[in-house]
């Protein structure tokens, strides 16, 4: 899968209390979209076959689902910091 147009269509965060930072290695991402099942409001694979990060720094309340998304990624393309 070619590299995703990183940042081309990101949603701008307005929440100022974010503590979770998401990084995706698009060389690894194979668009299996399991992240999307774990955290649908954060990850989205669109019909173009690319993964889009809807919220790069989601709030603490999303930590569990985002962590689960990273664990479920079969290509281990997702890293969670913070």
């Amino acid at each position: 899968m070619p590299q995703s147009p990183w940042g081309a269509d990101r949603v701008v965060r307005t929440d100022r209390e974010a503590t979770v930072k998401i990084t995706v290695d698009f060389d690894r991402c194979q668009s299996n979209a399991l992240c999307m099942t774990a955290a649908p409001e954060v990850f989205e694979v669109r019909d173009d076959g690319y993964l889009y990060i809807l919220v790069e720094e989601p709030g603490e309340e999303r930590r569990a689902e985002v962590t689960n998304a990273a664990r479920l990624c079969p290509t281990q393309a997702i890293t969670i910091e913070g």
Binding site: Q30, N32, A33, L34, M36, E44, V45, G49
Partner: protein, 429 residues
């Protein structure tokens, strides 16, 4: 089950994804005691999906498919990773297993050792089935282990004639990779369509058409009678010249070492819905769980095809289940009391197309294409059993397929599933 003491010794038999993920989950869950992971293979634990794809194609090297770096095991994870050892016996009463070094003669037990545990994780996986009988052919391969894939990778080259026996996902992915390298590829499938057991005949046929569209010959309804020194003879008399033969006819669970131990074995290790291993009388064996390919358990999210009031028993040989079941079983050992009822998922990448499946197709009554068309190589199909949605197949339909997942989690009715995808169900006149 009383929870594992935080300082207890956890012994994990199997050093592939399920075993390593269990160790990680135990640490994440606060386990402080020693964890030993024992594996037969000598290479560092690695990820298997790339073996038939990027690794075989030469795009990924070995470092890239390792699950973790070597020093991670001792330092970051605090795991004693012991490779090249095979578990040969389980003693439930004394809570210990016997280990033998790989390569030692079967009648020598002098190098054996016994290892005790406070909790045992059975993650011994499965192995590739092979064709019965011997063959004079030098290059008959399976693709299960890193060693297998290294060997096949050396053999594949432009112009090489490859016969793939079995049109399942591994066979299809190897065919796709071999074709991309420039090999001349033929796939032979004994059933009338590929993937019948996984997808049913109609969708299996539709998925199998991808071979022909990509210049790979697919012969169905044809078994293999014999493999000669440089050819494969099919049961219908066809002789296929073959420089390399790849056998992809499924996998068998590694349970031999458990025979006679008292653990219930029925095409896998029999577990309850918490991933706890059961004995031959159906009682929970304290402190023992099973994960991954080797484990059979009742998934209450799906009804049994024969009696919908009972959960469907499953044994799943896919990446996602190994990862998810590992997390769940670790939780069970640490005192969580939740049933394991995932939506099964698998994917396959072939000739640039992504095939994905969610849920089950076992005993389905109807499969319906609700979006796209098999003729175009891109479609979404839903599976019905009774009045319920039980599965979904997507080919080049990633987003639409994942949109079905919540419906499977909620045990959605068929009618609601059709509404979701915008199809009105008209009763047939």
């Amino acid at each position: 089950m009383s929870a594992l003491r935080p300082d207890g010794h956890v012994l994990i038999v199997g050093a592939s994804l399920a075993g390593v993920r269990t160790a990680e989950a135990l640490r994440a869950g606060g386990h402080r005691g020693p964890i030993t992971v024992v594996g037969e293979e000598l290479p560092l634990p690695y990820d298997r999906p790339p073996l038939s794809k990027q690794f075989l194609a030469g795009a990924f090297d070995e470092a890239r498919i390792q699950l973790r770096r070597e020093d991670d095991y001792a330092s970051a994870l605090g795991v004693d990773l012991r490779r090249g050892l095979r578990a040969t016996q389980l003693d439930l009463t004394k809570q210990r297993i016997r280990l033998a070094p790989i390569g030692a003669a079967d009648d020598t037990t002098s190098a054996d050792e016994t290892v005790p545990w406070d909790a045992l994780v059975i993650a011994s996986g499965s192995r590739a089935r092979s064709l019965p009988g011997s063959t004079p052919h030098q290059d008959v391969c399976t693709v299960r282990t890193l060693d297998d894939a290294r060997r096949l990778r050396r053999l594949l080259a432009p112009g090489i004639r490859v016969v793939v026996v079995g049109a399942g996902f591994i066979g299809a992915e190897v065919a796709s990779t071999a074709k991309s390298i420039g090999c001349e590829v033929t796939v032979v499938e004994a059933m009338h369509a590929p993937l019948v057991r996984q997808l049913g005949e109609e969708m299996g046929t539709a998925c199998g058409a991808i071979h022909g569209r990509n210049g790979v010959r697919l012969l169905t309804g044809t078994g293999v009678a014999s493999i000669g020194a440089d050819s494969v003879r099919c049961s219908d008399g066809t002789v296929l010249p073959a420089d390399v033969v790849v056998v992809g006819i499924g996998a068998a669970p590694n349970t031999e070492w458990l025979e006679g131990s008292g653990v219930a074995i029925r095409d896998g290790v029999v577990c309850d819905d918490r991933c706890r291993v059961l004995d031959e009388h159906g009682r929970v064996v304290p402190g023992v769980v099973a994960v991954g390919d080797v484990a059979r358990w009742p998934n209450a999210l799906f009804g049994s095809p024969t009696d919908a009031s009972l959960p469907e028993e499953m044994r799943i040989e896919h990446w996602t289940n190994a990862a998810e079941m590992a997390m769940h079983a670790a939780g069970t050992l640490q005192g969580t009391d939740e049933p394991y009822q995932p939506v099964p998922y698998f994917w396959s990448d072939q000739y640039g197309s992504k095939i994905q499946f969610l849920g089950r197709a076992t005993g389905f009554d109807e499969v319906r294409v609700v979006d796209g068309a098999p003729a175009d190589g891109a479609w979404l199909a839903l599976y019905r059993r009774g009045d319920r949605l039980i599965g979904a197949l997507g080919v080049q339909r990633i987003r639409a397929l994942m949109g079905i997942r919540p419906l499977l989690v909620e045990r959605s009715s068929w009618t609601r599933a059709l509404e979701h995808v915008g199809v009105v169900d008209r009763p047939t006149a």
